[in-house]
């Protein structure tokens, strides 16, 4: 029962990433695309944590941590570049 509910949550998160892709393709300015990138990263962290429970490995949580840290740095660098103050 728990596995079925967690699989449903995984499917919902994948669908939300696919909807975010619409804004990434369509968005007018580049800040819109950076926001879409940020949302995809945060949703991917939740997805990796649920996958770690479904596959039963704790080491996947470390990957989620590295993932969040580096994408945070990337978003900061992109924003500084767009602001012309890098």
């Amino acid at each position: 029962m728990v596995n079925i509910i967690l699989s449903t949550a995984l499917a919902i998160i994948i669908i939300s990433i696919a909807i975010t892709m619409i804004r990434f393709v369509k968005g007018k300015s580049s800040v819109d695309r950076v926001i879409a990138f940020d949302i995809m990263t945060i949703a991917s962290i939740a997805m990796i944590a649920i996958l770690a429970q479904l596959l039963g490995r704790i080491i996947y949580l470390d990957i989620a941590l590295v993932y969040g840290l580096l994408s945070f740095l990337a978003v900061i660098i992109i924003a500084k570049y767009l602001e012309k103050s890098l």
Binding site: I14, L70, Y81, L82
Partner: protein
């Protein structure tokens, strides 16, 4: 195991769209962001193929570090371009 297959197919479609944007978009900034997102989803795909070490390396190098280095270099190029334009105006 079938739901993992469906997730892999959806991730593959998203990765194909990201690669198309990274190749065909006009703006350099958007192309670099799309390449970074491609690296992120490639990392999740490696994780589905049960290779956590490769996934960690891909998330560190392919998504984070390459994006940061690309934007650093773009910033340097932009400043030198602006200086040359100012010198040409004088």
């Amino acid at each position: 195991m079938s739901y993992l297959l469906i997730i892999s197919i959806l991730l593959g479609i998203i990765m194909l769209a990201m690669a198309g944007i990274a190749i065909y978009h006009k703006s350099q900034v958007v192309a670099i962001i799309a390449a970074g997102a491609l690296g992120l989803f490639a990392s999740v795909m490696y994780l589905l193929l049960s290779a956590p070490d490769v996934a960690m390396t891909e998330a560190a190098i392919g998504s984070g570090l390459s994006t940061i280095i690309f934007f650093y270099v773009l910033n340097r190029i932009r400043t030198t371009d602006e200086k040359e334009e100012q010198q040409l105006k004088k």
